[in-house]
Symmetry: C2
């Protein structure tokens, strides 16, 4: 164990997502002091937020207190705080309430939703980035079923029974699949007036296929699995307006309107506001989504003591393709950032960052998924098993998420979902 | 399976707690139609709410969707709705949005907090009756630790590190024990500036001992167990004022003030507002806490078609002692109400309701409890095992709460608590 000493190199990490957490872990019990700052008191396993939204898991199943994760790494102190500004020349990070000076700064503040300038859409079609957002969505989904059960007007009933998901990337596909499972398996015995199998789930995608970043063969498989779960995929659909209960989209020629009580946004991302602060203070360039254009070492050009990693960083691979905003990239960048700082202290050089692509995957409903491991591409039940194995392995790494395994096994065997509580009710 | 027919006797149940739920289950697949109304979409296992507040369990671990519980009982329809009024002569229950007519009405709307006329205390010392309340409390508890970690002013630091629980009934005792466990076991490695063992947990009780409804020998044992967990019990203490960060109480002679950032109310209860509506419409007498004084058949005097059960009902046992507001009473009354209605339809008489006391218990921290089974009174680890066994048996009855068993086993072995997320954060 290494206890921090006052004179030691001080690393400040902003953001407790995968990037920040892997950097912190790699700096644990090393000859540096670390201050690990997040607005939340927990690390969130975002890829499973859709399970919280659809009642399959509880927030605590996919989130772990940051303090618990680093409790044995005595050179790391955790601060729950909002970072508001920074001063690169003085090496100071400003908090909402106080300030922290640094020798090295790792910024891993992530991304948030992007409604392409239509901020009024946000409350009507919420996205899925936070636990509160997932619980809000859960409440919307199950309240729609409750209202449908007592609705006598046919038009309003149809709207309650229609769910629109905008964006067919991994999040949109996984959400649509989970909704299909709810309507066609979990809830079929629970209502007396409505037949939950009549629910319409519409998945709108601007590109010409679902999962556009994946190989076409997997998009096809995903579309087939979605179809089996009663999800209607509409590709080439560009949403032009969202009002309460009405979603408007164009297919390029015609304009269509969907009456739906529940709309979910899974389409766009933009960088955390901290990127703009950084651009203002250092002059660093941002890409169109506000992400920070970093050097091959993940540093801010001209500011070797400031590193940006994870979804907030923009970097291309040698072929000129931008690195995707997914967990493995953030994790590897976190490790790289820590290594770079430790090597510098020893006077050793560090190779440029290279992303090692282990593959990607998405899950669709109860036992179908698609997996892309480079040359190896497969779908169906084997893909689902692979998906669940890898996700549980990650969860277990941080904590006692054994419980999730039991819950999933149970959900799988019984087709039940125990976490479909409508909470956050305003009294 | 019995499908409801339109001409059949229609039972309306208001409230999905233990009383209402056991009535509904006893009426399932019987020759009656049942409408089961609750403001929430779930049944809540209230005795474990303190575990949610202290980060040991997630809401979905102790709550089950009502629809899931009765999904196979096809003569029961569930309605998520607020009951606002009733008309006994027309046999109509009014909802916020609509109305339902009944042939028999079972009211099991329960109780809420009572601040003895000091309603301004409610936001300063919240109680523990709902999931939202438990999550609010969880946020207060863990945020106090977070603020303490960065607080430099000694006086403010002491206030953050002080927790006051008002009322040493089972809820107060269990909460105090769980807080003691957090401070002395769970969190000891998680902070760098504060020592969580320095936390002060003060349990204020107006009577002369903790757990006043229990036999004195068990109160003594509970007090000893609390002491081991660092809880300071102050008996004979009557709270006279609660302001932000200041709790004032009198010991009869002197007035004392405690500086504490977190205060929790576990002292008083009053009947749901529906009792007053019922009194207005039927003239039934209420007791001092607003509970409905029912007949020996649990009916409202003069209104044989209206039954009141659970915490909302006031009834004395043959010795003249009021029945306690605990789950077993509510469960047995639910069964009695169903039997009475079914017997009437067959023209059969029903014996007066008699409560069969199976005992009571309370848990204190990680492996101590007290159990009162009439002649058999015991404490310590055997009592804890009994407590956990009975509670899990109840949880499993409703659902797949196997997961809770795994989580508890894990929490017990590791002394960890995974659910200590600070959510509901206002952005």
């Amino acid at each position: 164990m290494h206890l921090p000493e006052d004179g030691e190199h001080h690393v400040v990490i902003v953001g407790g997502g995968f990037g920040g957490l892997y950097a912190a872990k790699a700096l644990g019990n090393k000859p540096v002091r670390v201050t690990f700052i997040d607005r939340r008191n927990y690390h969130l396993f975002q890829p499973l937020l859709y399970q919280v939204a659809t009642g399959g898991l509880s927030p605590a199943d996919i989130a772990t207190p940051l303090r618990a994760i680093v409790s044995r790494l005595k050179n790391i102190r955790v601060l729950q705080a909002d970072v508001t500004d920074l001063d690169p020349s003085q090496q100071i990070v400003y908090l909402k309430d106080g300030q922290v000076s640094y020798d090295s700064l790792i910024i891993a503040a992530g991304v948030t939703h992007h409604y392409f300038g239509h901020d009024t859409w946000a409350p009507l079609a919420p996205g899925l980035k936070t636990i509160e957002g997932a619980l809000d969505l859960r409440q919307r989904i199950f309240s729609a079923f409750e209202r449908a059960e007592t609705e006598e007007d046919t038009e309003r009933l149809n709207a309650e029974m229609t769910f629109v998901i905008i964006g067919a990337g991994p999040t949109g596909v996984e959400l649509a699949g989970a909704l299909g499972e709810l309507a066609h398996h979990t809830l079929i015995n629970d209502f007396r007036h409505i037949n939950t199998r009549d629910v319409k789930i519409l998945l709108l995608e601007g590109a010409d296929r679902v999962l556009p970043p994946y190989p076409p063969v997997l998009s096809e498989r995903a579309a087939k699995s979605l179809d089996k779960l009663g999800v209607t995929v509409i590709t080439g659909a560009k949403v032009t307006d969202i009002e309460d209960h009405i979603i408007t989209y164009t297919d390029g020629e015609h304009t269509h309107q969907i009456q739906a009580a529940t709309a979910i946004w899974a389409a766009g991302m933009k960088a955390s506001a901290l990127a703009h602060v950084l651009a203002e203070r250092t002059g660093v360039a941002l890409d169109v989504f506000g992400r920070v254009k970093v050097t091959e070492h993940l540093t801010v050009p001209g500011q070797t003591d400031i590193l940006v990693i994870g979804d907030l960083a923009y970097r291309e691979d040698p072929a000129g393709t931008p690195l995707p905003g997914i967990c493995p990239v953030a994790m590897q960048q976190g490790g790289h950032a820590a290594k770079l700082i430790l090597n510098r202290l020893k006077g050793k050089p560090t190779k440029a960052f290279r992303y090692f692509d282990k593959g990607s995957m998405a899950v669709i409903g109860r036992h179908a998924a698609v997996v892309n491991l480079g040359r190896l591409k497969f779908g169906g039940f084997p893909a689902w098993l692979t998906w669940i194995f890898i996700h549980i392995a990650y969860l277990i790494e941080f904590d006692n998420k054994l419980v999730v395994l039991v819950r999933w096994a149970w959900n799988y065997l019984t087709k039940k979902k125990g976490a479909r509580l409508i909470t956050n009710r305003i009294e």
